[in-house]
């Protein structure tokens, strides 16, 4: 940090501002080496779907959109960008609590920690000769704190946002009234058409016999059967999809909201469990065994969280967008028209008195 920048920052804290505008500051910020490096990194394909990558990317995106109203904001963002770049460079540092996809494969002993500024595997930390156990524990503790912080950022912070802002998501397990009314209408229509089989000589029978002289009105009726069947199918499909999303939604709600306290306990318990295990290994000079599986146990919560965040972003369950009210209304008008045609035919041909 340049000395003149420091003086400008100090001056700003005493309400003496420099001449640059927030746009100029923002441009300057985006043009810094560290932001350029971050931009290049996030454009690459590496580690696209790990929670850690997503967390860092989100923070980077937040930085790019921050308005640099003051020099203070500028330097806070700059420090954060430097921290992000440091984190990104140490991408080999896996978080044992967040290895969801490959938790069965990642060995705990191959998890790296920052030991005196160097990447050192946990397995190697135990074997280091020139350090006391207390010092090793201190180093591991630092990484543990960092890992825990990341878990909180990945799981608890977004959860808190969701709890505080549960907008546009249903609170009750119900199918909307419009869909139920539409279903009843379809049921009645289907029953009416089934009844037609029992009227006089079963009026659509000629269709099946390909008796074209008698079937001039039966073909449209056949088409109506088909359309009613198709509408029934659409309705069922819509309901089942809704139920599927409702089920998924309420599963996510159960996982995240009903048992939110359990998540905190789980995080604390897992952190303690891992810490005590490593502590024992260091003190007894015992080899670290096993994979990250017992410690990466928040995958269900993470999946639920991603789903809920997606819903929250889209302002509702995804199915609602596919089967919106406009489509339901169009289907209704279409079926009503068909119903009117049926009635007209039945009345003019004397099937109904």
């Amino acid at each position: 940090m340049k000395q003149s920048d420091k003086l400008l920052l100090l001056g700003e804290l005493f309400n003496v501002h420099d001449d640059s505008t927030k746009e100029a500051r923002q441009k300057q910020f985006l043009d810094t080496d560290v932001m350029k490096n971050l931009r290049d990194f996030f454009r690459s394909e590496e580690e696209k779907s790990s929670p850690r990558y997503e967390l860092l990317k989100k923070e980077y995106e937040l930085l790019t959109h921050t308005e640099m109203e003051t020099l203070k904001v500028y330097f806070i963002c700059y420090a954060h960008a430097l921290y992000l770049w440091h984190s990104v460079q140490n991408r080999r540092f896996l978080n044992p609590f967040l290895c969801f996809k490959n938790k069965n494969e990642v060995l705990l002993s191959r998890i790296a920690v920052d030991f005196d500024g160097k990447e050192t595997y946990l397995g190697d930390v135990i074997m280091l000769e020139n350090y006391s156990n207390d010092y090793k524990i201190e180093m591991v503790k630092r990484s543990m704190i960092q890992w825990r912080k990341e878990v909180i950022k990945v799981v608890l912070d977004p959860l808190q946002i969701l709890i505080m802002r549960p907008k546009n998501v249903p609170h009750k397990r119900k199918i909307p009234g419009s869909k139920i009314g539409y279903g009843i209408f379809l049921l009645l229509m289907s029953l009416c058409l089934i009844l037609l089989f029992f009227l006089k000589d079963n009026i659509i029978y000629p269709v099946f016999k390909f008796d074209l002289t008698r079937a001039y009105f039966a073909y449209p009726l056949f088409a109506i059967y088909f359309f009613i069947f198709f509408a029934d199918f659409l309705w069922m499909f819509s309901i089942s999809r809704r139920r599927y999303h409702m089920r998924k939604y309420f599963w996510a709600q159960d996982v995240l909201f009903t048992h939110s306290q359990d998540i905190v306990l789980k995080i604390n318990h897992t952190t303690e469990k891992l810490y005590h295990y490593i502590l024992t290994c260091i003190q007894k000079k015992k080899e670290i065994e096993g994979t990250c599986k017992p410690y990466s146990n928040l995958d269900q919560e993470y999946r639920a969280l991603k789903y809920m965040l997606k819903i929250n972003e889209k302002d509702g369950l995804p199915e609602d967008n596919m089967f919106g009210y406009e489509i339901v209304l169009l289907e209704f008008i279409f079926l009503l028209l068909i119903y009117l045609v049926i009635c007209y035919i039945l009345i003019t041909k004397g099937f109904i008195a």
Binding site: K6, L7, W85
Partner: protein, 235 residues
Amino acid sequence: MNHKIKFNIHIRDEEFFSLKEFGSKIYLYPEESFALINTKNFLTILKKYDEELYKKVEELRSSETSKEVFLFKIQYLFAPVLPLQYYGVQYKSYEKIGNRILNGAPQIDIYMQDFLRYGLLSYYMRHVGDDHMQSKLYETVLCLEHEFLLNEARAYFKLGFHLDKRDEIVYRRRGYKDVKSFFEMILSPTMINDFAKDFEKNQYLLAWLEYKGYQKEIREFESIVSSVEEWEEKK
């Protein structure tokens, strides 16, 4: 005390006929005085003259590793009623110390720093009873001695401001009392680089701002700067 023993001490062109007289001039002749006090001859005579005083001197000799501190303290053993004096300079009041510190700013006088580094000022205040008479100032000095361990330059200039009770910062022979007008002056394009190059190193400005009660702003400034620099180092 053996009154039969008469002292006759020669240092350069001066002659002292009592320990009190010698003690009052130690600050003018630190090198010679230190050499003399540590001679076997002087200590033997001192022991015969006043055994209790001799024990105190021996205790001081064994406990103090710094020559300056040893001489500062021993002068008050030989001549208990003395003004504050150290390394060739006599200070009639505490304000004079503050005045000297601020007049030299932003340069630091290494001997003046010893008042905080070795706790000489607080020692003197205890010696003359100002720890009770001027308890608020004494507390401030103790705090600054502690702060000196963390930030030497800032504690030094803050001592200057506290002792001198001067509310203004002097830059290029002009005094500024108002923080905003001072910043407007130093942040002008012609001044900024000149002032910026050393302001953090000498801590004069930051000491002044803290003295004026802007601790919160300084903490905020330092926290931002340290986090930027910490990550810059790691980069």
